[in-house]
Symmetry: C3
Subunit: 402 residues, 3 copies
């Protein structure tokens, strides 16, 4: 069977509608065509999936075409499963190209990225074998990923900002990805290196391995916004999300997967997995924002807008807007923090919904101050006491809430 | 017109003298020939300027020759402007070679670097087109830079140690440089990557981007002294200055542009833009020296000689010689520091010009101790109080001052 | 002279026995064949030695064959010296191949690595000159190394886990290794770069230098275990030892040579030269473990099992098992630490051999708590006092000791 060449955009629309009305048909949550890197020793091992374009809750017409092109190529799609993965074949390409015919010419620049992917595949297939190197993945539900391609499409969705941080199911991802040696964007099986170590070394051909990890780096797959800067690719893992305007310095910074920024942020410290930092904030040199696996009792830390985390500070609680943590101090869930009556009154002003008793001397545990706006955490240098006051940073309260 | 071949060094001298006596002639503050990397999409965008040799307040004879060679090639030089930039042409090369004729043979090794540059250009032009890839820049005043080549020559002057840190006008440099993806010393426009992402990725040819930044790294342009070590090129930005004997470890260190060392220094922490560290000092693991943009109220921090900044300490005030900041503590402008009478007397001995009242208990703000010698900053582990005493580190006082 | 082809494994055994019984013969502590990188300018300078396989207190049969093959090729071996180094020649290869004849076929995979090295050399010699690129080193005593090849074999022994950390004599190693620019696993003399800077830069061929150091990186020479992860190759120096299961994150971490882990450890901080961390421990983000050159009075720091060093903490004393150092605090030899009677009693339970007087209030110097199990170091956030209590982490006491 084959899809017959579609001659107009109207015909294309009817074609898609008909597919989408099909019995059992289900629009995918996400889909994409990827190039895969296979194991050097064990070709069945997929070491990496490279997506030139990821669809996340969008482009359902293209999804319908791809699904139909697969069916016409003899594949069955199970819409009840959470994900479905297929090899790209010549037949699939021919079928999909026939369907996309009205869009082939205008597919360039930012327009019709899926068609562009298809056109490039058609070019490749003219010159060489597809060589089992290309696959198409559909996610129908955001269940725990079942294959490498699925983990990658989710990491892409996070890093491209198409899915919100913490919103994607990555359970078991570490078990699915292989630990490999990365060299020039290419993953190598460690066992292959072992097997070829003698030959490579004696011939001066041993590769210059940049990392050994299950994850690639963000910059191996993602093109950041024009005003985003990452001064060292090692500092941002694939799956991190950097809002445009974010700068990541090379000192002691690190942004793990499923962590990042939701506005322009200066990052000179660590944003652990699950931590999120808001617009205008500054993660000072060596500052640590703890993650769910590192001292927050499993509570993910969100840092609000316009917050300053001083150099070498440690933050284990969520902070609201306009907060300051002074250089070198640690505010954890159990840290006791003293606040005077006058300062607590000022802090309350920028936290109108905080139901707090105000005493002459107020001692809070860190966790009790979680998410509050406008707090400046300090250590009294004469007494060593950790205390808090109203920060001098502006807190913009949502007027509609008052 | 053309410069006629000069046959002797005497003739060369007269030739230069005549040029320098010309009406309006002005010796340039700096000049150099550079290779430029142009945008892949927009060839008018200069992404990087690579100087094989930079002249900074020196080699005025070569400057005169280059200026004359430009004029003979039909260019006008405006000596009243702060900077002048010209494309290198075949005519320029021929003219300059004619003038430098008496030096052509001996231009090798450390001798006559400008002539060596010219000879190499002559070699290139024999085999291929110059291809708009080479330019010559003159700085007549240290005004705010007007072009990428000008920013680069100033960064070179700093990194080569030809200009003192903080002495060069880099106002607006961030606005002039383009934010690009760096891959193997080559800058790529992000837009070009976007336009070619699909093709590059599907063909397994996506470049391994090492950083996305306006600045390159120091080691992309600068050859350090034999006894200088930089264990990770990401840790030193172009425009930093490393005195011979400096070692930069790869943990949490970073040296920004317009920052660095004026003697052999062990760097395991951060030297922010505008900060300077003196000979024999040790910036401990994770130690932060704040910059004018990060908590010093705009006051640049100089650290004296033979100073120890402990691991994970934070310093926001200038320090004199022989100081110690203990591991893990932060000394900022507002930090209150207690000093006993006995210790203050000892500290005063190594700060003979410090006009200070000595009480039984003395409390200073950090800023009041700025630049003082021989202070050991500590936190009393029983009371949490930040205190200072005379450090055990030697302070060499300039005898002539006593 | 030549070694005659050995036809059986029995004959091989007799051959080895005869060699080992020879007058003055001494089994080497270590030996290996390496490829060397020579200086670009000064070919006599060895910049790096690459060992495809290192023998450390093992494979004495192969050693005997290699020694005999050298003697048959006209070399004299001085068994009284601490190390002996020879060029690999065609004659050596032919002799050794003759001796290893019974093992040639089965030398593959994990079997007979020395024979595999030899077979690869025989392959190379068929196609091209050996070009003075290969050498064989024997260590007869662990004295201070005398040559680059000797330093490297010792670094390999540490990094491969064949020698225990701190057990190898590396005195003077810094004086033997050359400071070079590393580019794609290849070391370059800085002087060669200087000499070729103009040509390289003008032709757009200047190499992308990754580091300037005497040491290469661990991953340039060592293939880690399948469950070991190193997210940034710059973070682990050659000569470090990583026990399988160790993860090194890219934030503020660093593991120097002669330092590392003896079990699965999460490393997000610095392990200075001479420091060792035990199984199940966690070196938090930015945590510093001081080395003998950085504040421990020359006492190397061992961290026990199941220890947590909090983010940005600093540890300058050895710790036993199950300890915690809270985020942001520094415990050095001189740090005073208060422990209540109740807590000290609980701590003593997991340190049965600690002969300590228990008072109502106990003040210890850090050094007095060195190596003790189950201590949680904290700073009281109300008083600034550094105090300790029994940690909640399990301490497994060796039952046989009770």
């Amino acid at each position: 069977m084959a899809i017959k060449k579609i001659e107009s955009k109207d015909e294309f629309k009817s074609f898609v509608e008909k597919i989408e009305k099909g019995r059992d048909y289900k629009r995918p949550l996400a889909f994409g065509i990827c190039r895969i890197d296979r194991g050097q020793k064990n070709r069945e091992k997929v070491l990496q999936a490279i997506y030139p374009f990821v669809n996340w809750n969008e482009n359902f017409g293209s999804a319908a075409v791809f699904i139909e092109a697969l069916r016409e190529s003899g594949e069955n799609i199970d819409f009840t499963s959470s994900e479905q993965l297929f090899d790209i074949t010549d037949a699939f390409i021919i079928n999909a190209i026939s369907a996309f015919n009205p869009y082939l010419d205008e597919a360039k620049g930012d327009a019709h990225k899926n068609v562009q992917v298809l056109k490039e595949l058609a070019k490749i297939v003219e010159c060489e074998d597809l060589d089992d190197s290309f696959r198409i993945l559909f996610l129908f539900k955001d269940d725990a990923p079942q294959c490498v391609e699925s983990v990658y499409i989710k990491l892409y969705a996070l890093s491209l900002g198409k899915a919100e941080l913490r919103s994607v199911n990555l359970n078991g991802a570490f078990g699915i990805l292989h630990n490999v040696a990365w060299f020039g964007n290419e993953p190598f099986e460690l066992d292959w290196l072992r097997e070829n170590e003698i030959e490579l070394k004696l011939n001066g051909a041993y590769p210059e391995i940049e990392s050994v990890d299950k994850f690639p780096r963000y910059l191996q797959h993602i093109i950041p916004a024009d005003n985003t800067r990452i001064l060292d690719s090692a500092k941002v893992r694939m799956g991190a999300q950097l809002h445009p305007g974010t700068t990541v310095m090379p000192g002691a910074s690190y942004i793990n997967f499923n962590a990042g920024t939701t506005g322009a942020v200066m990052v000179e410290g660590r944003i652990s997995s699950s931590a999120i930092v808001g617009s205008g904030s500054d993660v000072g040199g060596g500052a640590s924002i703890l993650g769910v696996l590192s001292g927050t009792n499993g509570n993910p830390v969100s840092i609000g807008e316009n917050v300053l985390l001083g150099a070498n500070s440690v933050t284990g609680i969520p902070l609201g807007d306009g907060c300051i943590v002074d250089a070198g101090i640690a505010i954890l869930e159990g840290t006791k923090v003293a606040i005077s009556r006058a300062e607590l009154e000022k802090i309350k002003e920028v936290n109108p919904f905080w139901d707090v008793n105000i005493e002459d001397e107020n001692i809070f545990k860190g966790v009790e101050l979680a998410g509050k706006n406008g707090i400046h955490f300090r250590q009294n240098s004469m007494t060593g006491q950790i205390m808090a006051m109203r920060s001098r940073r502006e807190v913009k309260l949502n007027v509609e809430l008052h």
